[in-house]
């Protein structure tokens, strides 16, 4: 039996946030929350990699407020066998380091795991740092941006996408992989899965249960701090070319290309 931990973050629903047209800021009120899609891709990849579900024991782990239980129930509906919510006021305001410390303590308490999976990044923070930081804390190797994996003989061969092209890396288990959306299409929950998810218990662990000193987690344990927030001004001075002026629009496009040195310029109508 292979034990897999899948890390799932609850994030704001970016499909439903609106942009305030005057200030250019996101209006999050009423947008609701969803599981971070890339984390669900990681969960979905397990079905592709291990066709026999009985060979796996998948534990979904999330750090977040009590409402993140909904996100964990979605993971249960998609095949996770256990769900654990790391929930404590002391965890709030964590940077990626303090998040990795908390997740690391949880995985050590719940494990050992043969494999730790998560999305390449979360759509709210967009750092992609928690995975590698957690791997270091657990003392296991890692690979980021994985899009293919094949397992055998206590090792995994992964293909990851770099700017220059694909790279293949072989890692010993246990290891941590962060995945892109290309790893597997999102699985759909089955009726049976949804039923199981409704009935299943979600375990809750707080700082005391994880034997974590509250000063080492959350905002208090963070090594970075936001010291200023600015709302950027929407500074583009848009020139609009309606359908009747498309010739002028094409001219303006060529002028812009010439100005950037992409084509000889300035554009001239022969």
């Amino acid at each position: 039996m292979m034990r897999v931990a899948v890390l799932i973050k609850q994030v704001p629903d970016t499909d439903r946030v609106r942009m305030d047209e005057t200030s250019g800021t996101l209006v999050r009120d009423g947008a609701g929350t969803v599981p971070n899609l890339l984390d669900l891709h990681a969960l979905s990849a397990l079905e592709t990699w291990f066709p026999d579900p009985s060979a796996l024991l998948v534990t979904a782990v999330s750090m977040g407020p009590a409402s993140a239980e909904t996100t964990l129930r979605e993971a249960l509906a998609l095949g996770a066998r256990e769900a654990v919510l790391l929930c404590d006021r002391a965890f709030a305001g964590a940077d990626t380091w303090a998040t990795a410390v908390t997740l690391g303590a949880a995985l050590e308490r719940l494990g050992p795991f043969d494999l730790v999976l998560c999305g390449e990044k979360a759509t709210d923070g967009e750092t992609g740092q928690v995975g590698p930081e957690l791997a270091v804390l657990l003392g296991i190797p890692f690979a980021t941006r994985v899009q293919e994996a094949s397992f055998g003989d206590g090792r995994v061969l992964v293909t990851r996408q770099l700017e220059d092209g694909p790279e293949q890396v072989e890692l010993p288990l246990p290891c941590l992989l962060t995945v892109t959306a290309a790893v597997a299409p999102l699985a759909l929950p089955t009726l049976a899965g949804k039923r199981t998810a409704r009935r299943a218990a979600v375990t809750r662990l707080d700082a005391a249960a994880l034997r974590l000193d509250p000063t080492t987690v959350g905002l208090a344990g963070s090594l970075t701090r936001v010291v200023g927030l600015e709302r950027p001004v929407l500074r583009r001075d848009t020139r609009v070319f309606p359908p009747g002026q498309s010739a002028a629009g094409v001219d303006a496009f060529l002028d812009a290309c010439a100005h950037l040195g992409l084509i000889p310029g300035p554009s001239e109508e022969p």
């Binding site: 759509t123 967009e126 740092q129 590698p132 700017e163 092209g165 709302r231 020139r239 290309c257």
Partner: protein
């Protein structure tokens, strides 16, 4: 203020992202000697110089990039060189190595910064990055030294001419630092590049020109038009989530919150409405051109030039004009 920049290189020299970052850090420090670039590789002397000092670490195990190993070597270099700040480009490489190195060093790390500054009072490094999909810009400080950050390529200008007058220093580290711990890179990206055709999304994050398409293209063949335009302007092809979900193009082309963040000098959005989650991925682009049938689409307000019309009519007209404009140079 002394900086150490994790360098990224091709066979012939530094990548632009490394140069622009090193020169920006040297400018910030007010001293070209205050920013060293780290070269990890299998050859002792790469054979070229930089405008800033180069520190080389040489070992056969460094022939191929492996994030965990490079992180352990970087952490060991930080231990020896004791810089005030450690920077890397926010490329796939930098964003894999720096978090692991930061965890080894127990240092704070800020991802994907678009600017850096010095704290006028404490003198430490301030890391500036967009947050919440780019709707706010956060200034972040670390409480421990060295301060660490990855910086989005093209955040700083890359000077065209520079003098390769920097020194080279070879750093020797204990042998156990190079233990690969069972991880084997069986095919490096550079080898793959030599062996097969370069994927057309390769280099998207660092591309100077990005031509992106959305559902407004109406069918997969629309991307053929965009590929022609991209080839003509020396750019890469990207897509909105809508076009990816329609199956017209692969996930790796997706720009936005669940895809890639790009910051090209020219971004052309064709048939993309400009949902918040897409705008977050291209907000820091230089010039933005939008082509859309709907004048009220959000992308039109986020653009410098907004051409109202159909992609299938306007893109061929642009291609025809580009053909007449001739090749450059």
């Amino acid at each position: 203020m002394r900086f150490l920049v994790l360098g990224e290189f091709t066979d012939t020299g530094p990548r632009e992202a490394t140069l622009e970052l090193a020169l920006a850090a040297a400018r910030l420090a007010g001293d070209p000697l205050a920013c060293a670039v780290l070269h990890l590789g299998e050859t002792a002397d790469p054979g070229w110089r930089l405008p800033v000092p180069l520190v080389t670490v040489t070992h056969p195990a460094l022939a191929r990039f492996e994030a965990g190993l490079f992180a352990r070597v970087l952490a060991a270099c930080v231990g020896t060189l004791d810089p005030d700040a450690v920077l890397a480009s926010a490329t796939t490489t930098g964003r894999a190595v720096l978090p692991a190195a930061a965890a080894l060093l127990r240092c704070g790390l800020t991802a994907d910064c678009t600017d850096l500054a010095l704290d006028p009072e404490a003198g430490g490094l301030l890391q500036i990055r967009p947050a919440f999909g780019g709707s706010v810009v956060a200034t972040i400080a670390s409480s421990v030294r060295p301060r660490m950050a990855t910086v989005r390529p093209r955040s700083f200008p890359c000077p065209a001419g520079w003098l390769a007058t920097g020194s080279v220093r070879r750093l020797t580290l204990p042998a156990d630092v190079f233990d690969p711990r069972g991880v084997v890179v069986t095919q490096s990206a550079a080898c793959a590049r030599a062996e097969e055709e370069v994927a057309d999304f390769a280099g998207l994050e660092t591309a100077e020109v990005v031509i992106a398409g959305g559902r407004g293209l109406r069918r997969a063949a629309g991307f053929d038009l965009l590929r022609t335009l991209a080839a003509r302007l020396g750019g890469r092809v990207a897509a909105s989530r809508g076009a990816v979900e329609a199956g017209w193009i692969g996930h790796e082309h997706q720009v936005g919150l669940s895809g890639r963040v790009v910051s090209p000098r020219l971004y052309v959005a064709v048939g993309i409405s400009g949902a918040v989650q897409h705008l977050a991925g291209m907000r820091t682009a230089g010039t933005v051109v939008a082509i859309n049938r709907d004048p009220r689409a959000p992308i039109m307000q986020a653009a410098d030039l907004a051409l109202v019309g159909d992609a299938w009519e306007l893109v061929p007209r642009i291609l025809e004009r580009l053909e007449r404009a001739g090749r450059f140079p």
